[in-house]
């Protein structure tokens, strides 16, 4: 695969993942269980939106066809989005949100730590920036999961349900295709197999402290990040997110 094409797709995956998860987190705005938590989740959503912008700006630059970050966010259809299924699932209850955060943030933590050493200066720079924020996100998710898992019977039950439900979506995080291979060979991309054991072991450590069970390895969902085939939920997110720019093309505010 051509290096430029691979890099473009890589940036779209990273950008889309952050963009869609940011949207899901921002749904907690004004619905948080406490005011502080409302503010925390909204702040995390904002960090992820910022990270999405960096990647989509870079994707647009690599593509070089005059599209902007806004065009990429607002004027693509479902099959042109390459985020994981994990991030597009409905937000669920608070335990579901926190478990998804933990899964995703821990992945981001180890991913960005490797991406820091990318030969692509821009990706390395974005990783350095994002990593500082992700550390706070991991701290937030892990302190909550320990409180929920080791909390009441009800909070324990809901957290374990969320883990069981989300687990088949974790395989996609570590799957790789030609895009990854091309970039790994060029010293630009991250070998996801190298971060899997780190993720497994930290996840196990946190869940054990939270008195929760880490599921056995088993059947995993197909990857949306390769082929743009999504769950039915992504369309609803895009309909909401893209309504205004599509109804009023070129609108500025």
């Amino acid at each position: 695969m051509d290096l430029k094409e691979a890099l473009f797709k890589y940036c779209l995956r990273l950008g889309d993942n952050n963009l869609i998860l940011s949207h899901r987190l921002s749904e907690w705005c004004s619905n948080g269980p406490t005011l502080e938590e409302d503010v925390a989740l909204t702040n995390i959503a904002l960090d992820k939106l910022g990270q999405a912008r960096f990647f989509l700006q870079y994707a647009a630059e690599i593509e070089g066809k005059g599209r902007t970050e806004d065009d990429l966010a607002y004027l693509r259809y479902e099959h042109e989005f390459f985020n994981t299924k994990l991030v597009e699932l409905p937000r669920g209850d608070f335990a579901f949100t926190i478990v998804r955060e933990l899964i995703n943030d821990l992945f981001d933590l180890f991913f960005y730590e490797k991406l820091l050493h990318s030969k692509d200066e821009k990706l390395a720079g974005i990783a350095a920036k994002a990593l500082k924020e992700v550390k706070y996100h991991v701290r937030h998710a892990s302190s909550w999961i320990i409180r929920l898992g080791d909390g009441t019977e009800e909070s324990h039950r809901r957290s374990q349900n969320a883990i069981n439900e989300l687990w088949p979506y974790t395989g996609e995080l570590f799957m790789m295709d030609d895009v990854d291979k091309t970039l790994i060979d060029a010293g630009i991309g991250v070998d996801l197999a190298s971060i899997k054991p780190l993720w497994d072991s930290k996840m196990k450590e946190i869940l054990t402290e939270a008195t929760l069970q880490m599921p056995e390895a088993g059947w995993m969902q197909n990857p949306s990040k390769f082929n743009g085939v999504h769950t039915e939920h992504l369309g609803y997110i895009l309909a909401e997110m893209q309504y205004l720019p599509r109804a009023y093309p070129g609108a500025k505010w």
């Binding site: 503010v39 992820k48 939106l49 910022g50 720079g125």
Partner: protein, 162 residues
């Protein structure tokens, strides 16, 4: 000639206040990195504080306004990601300004903050006591956390180490 003018441009841009923390300027924050002139075009380099910081857009608008007002044109604003912004770039003077405004400045060095590490020991900006507790990791802006002083019984904001 250009180098004298460069100092003027730098000094004017340095004074632009942060809309969310108006006691600090983009110069004191370390957001403004450098000013260059190549073949008559001005290049202003800035580094974002937080990825999603809404103030970044306002910084750019203000920089545009200052550049146009002084007719330092043409110009381009360039964002540099590396090295990533850190609270270590806040000057002692800037930290003192924060403290006076009731915001506890970042303590220690950003690089020493370990993942899931011990909670920060934060000094109350009002009474100077260290007997404080964290209420929330996230405050009214991405860069601040919410604390409570057990001594003066007042909540206050802490500018997080990043």
């Amino acid at each position: 000639m250009v180098s004298d003018e460069k100092i003027n441009v730098w000094n004017e841009l340095y004074k632009i206040p942060d809309p969310e923390i108006p006691m600090l300027t983009i110069g004191e924050l370390g957001v403004l990195r450098k000013v260059e002139n190549h073949d008559g075009t001005w290049y202003v380099y800035i580094t974002p504080t937080y990825s999603g910081c809404p103030a970044m857009h306002m910084f750019e608008e203000e920089i545009k306004r200052v550049m146009e007002t002084h007719r330092w044109i043409p110009f381009e604003i360039k964002t540099i990601y590396h090295p990533a912004w850190t609270t270590d770039w806040l000057s002692e003077e800037a930290k003192e300004k924060l403290r006076k405004a009731g915001i506890a400045p970042p303590e220690g060095s950003a690089s020493k903050k370990a993942l899931l590490g011990e909670p920060d020991e934060v000094t109350c900006p009002k009474c100077g006591k260290k007997d404080t507790k964290k209420i929330s990791e996230f405050g009214s802006t991405a860069c601040k956390a919410l604390y409570f002083c057990n001594n003066c019984k007042d909540p206050f904001e802490y500018f997080k180490c990043l």
